[in-house]
Amino acid sequence: MSLLELSGITASYGASQALFGVDLTVGEGEVVALMGRNGMGKSTTIKVICRLLKNSEGSVRFAGQDISGLPAHKAARLGLGLVPEGRRCFTNLTVHENLYASARPGEWTFERVHDLFPRLKERERQMAGSLSGGEQQMLAIGRALMTNPRLLILDEATEGLAPVVRQEIWAAIGALKSSSGLSILVVDKTIAELRRIADHVVVLERGANVWEGTIDGLTTDVKDRYLGV
């Protein structure tokens, strides 16, 4: 059964249309990678899912419910956990406070987040703004997990991070998949890392679906034409 279902989504920023009929499905416990070059509508699609941007046409269904008319906070409370692009923590709060402010009852607790990212335990009393980029990304993931989501959405989770830190983040995402059975929608460009976790890939080009399948099915032609790698 699909947890998230987008069909025929169109969306615009003012007069500029960004999405032209995007279809996307994420099943329970499935990891889906949303790929495409810069400016092709990946982050806009995420905004539509999280209700930060209204779609003009099409429907967004989450857990069997049409969420097209819901505000962002209500959609989040249904179980959409977003790790936004650019590691957006509350930099004016401590690590502990970031997690505490977002916490909702469920399986994910402080202990479990600390087990996944031990560095967050070490930096518990430190202001989020003083953390390194990698630590802020861990905190952003931890904060999303503390909302006890049914679907974790990672938008460019490892962009701009040092290779060692990227490995650490990918290892944690891998652990999330294997140990929690959480559904994950990940936006990224690194095929090598996605190969380890993604069950399904959807490629966007100019705001529309152009290819989907398994990651092993990504041919050189598709990579050259749509991913630029």
Binding site: P71, H73, F90, N92, N98, Y100, A101, A103
Partner: protein
């Protein structure tokens, strides 16, 4: 760097020491000045919750200050004149009991803040400032044209209201009562700031969209903060009216809103004891510079300019030398 909690403890202790020293030196006027500083600080603690933690620059907090003042004035004047407040459909009499007056002041100002907040929070930035200012001024002109309670001349209360077990006419006892109220409110605000509610409020202050994506209903959160903020300022209004035994439309005036904001800026925005430090400095300047020149506010303006340009954390921030965490 001095830890902020030690600075707060020193500021609170100084208020007590000054008042006890004044009692010992038989200087009741100094105690009254300290009481005034404490009450005005309480009003600013209310605004600081909305402005400092929530980022809501309300320029109409005099509305709640005035409502609290008039709640006291109306109830006390009816009690003193032995006339009921209303008889139909049911009888409501006045009272000179402070706990009842405080309750009425808090509820009335909270309800007003709920209405003003529900309308003004639809806007943001300069529009929010203007809408809150407009509401404050509406109440100011309403009070001026309300002859039943003194109109422009205001309303005098001949005897200070009563609090069980205390003689509120004794300056040190009234100071102690006001100081205790301030301490209780400061403790509650401190706990609120550390709760998920307070943390979410500070998070939403920094980035509204980020807060919404973790399931925080930012509008409702800000409205609740605004209501609590208005209720605290309303309580201060009731105490201020009792201190002066007089209420007038000036309590609603935008100058009062500006004054409350000045206390916060002087003491430190989003600092727990910033309002107390700011209000105390203001009272000291008003008393001593006001004795030297009637244009003492020119010096206040220079000090305010200095704080805004060079010491954004105000007195408390400057001493703690620590960046404000809630901005």
């Amino acid at each position: 760097m001095i830890r902020e909690r030690y600075i707060n403890a020193v500021i609170l202790a100084l208020m007590v020491i000054i008042s006890i020293a004044a009692l010992w030196m038989d200087e009741p006027f100094t105690i009254t000045l300290a009481t005034k500083a404490v009450i005005l600080a309480l009003a600013a603690v209310g605004l600081n919750l909305a402005l400092g933690q929530g980022g809501l620059v309300s320029f109409g907090h005099a509305a709640y200050f005035g409502v609290g003042g008039y709640a006291m004035g109306i109830l006390a004047s009816h009690a003193q004149n032995y006339t009921p407040l209303m008889e139909v459909p049911f009888l409501i009499e006045g009272t000179n009991q402070m706990p009842v007056i405080w309750l009425v002041a808090v509820v009335a100002s909270a309800l007003l803040a709920l209405v003003i907040g529900a309308l003004s929070l639809r806007t943001s930035g300069v529009y929010f400032i203007m809408v809150t200012l407009a509401f404050g001024q509406m109440l100011y002109y309403f009070a001026i044209s309300w002859p039943a309670y003194g109109g422009e001349d205001g309303l005098s209360i001949y005897v200070r209201n009563e609090f069980p077990g205390l003689n509120t006419l004794v300056p040190i006892q009234f100071f102690g009562l006001c100081f205790a109220v301030l301490c209780v409110v400061l403790f509650m605000v401190h706990r609120l700031n550390q709760s998920p509610f307070g943390l979410a409020l500070m998070g939403a202050h920094q980035n509204e969209e980020r807060a919404r994506t973790v399931g925080i209903n930012v509008t409702r959160l800000r409205l609740v903060a605004f209501v609590i903020s208005g209720a605290i300022t309303g309580l201060a209004g009731a105490l201020f009216a009792d201190l002066n035994r007089f209420v007038s439309p000036v309590m609603f005036d935008w100058h009062t809103s500006g004054q409350i904001m000045i206390f916060i800026i002087l003491g430190g925005v989003a600092r727990l004891c910033g309002p107390l430090a700011g209000a105390s400095l203001y009272i000291i300047l008003e008393h001593y510079l006001g004795g030297l020149s009637e244009y003492w506010q020119i010096y206040l303006g220079l000090i305010l300019l200095f704080v805004v340009l060079f010491a954004k954390g105000g007195i408390v921030g400057g001493l703690a030398r620590k960046e404000v965490r809630h901005g």
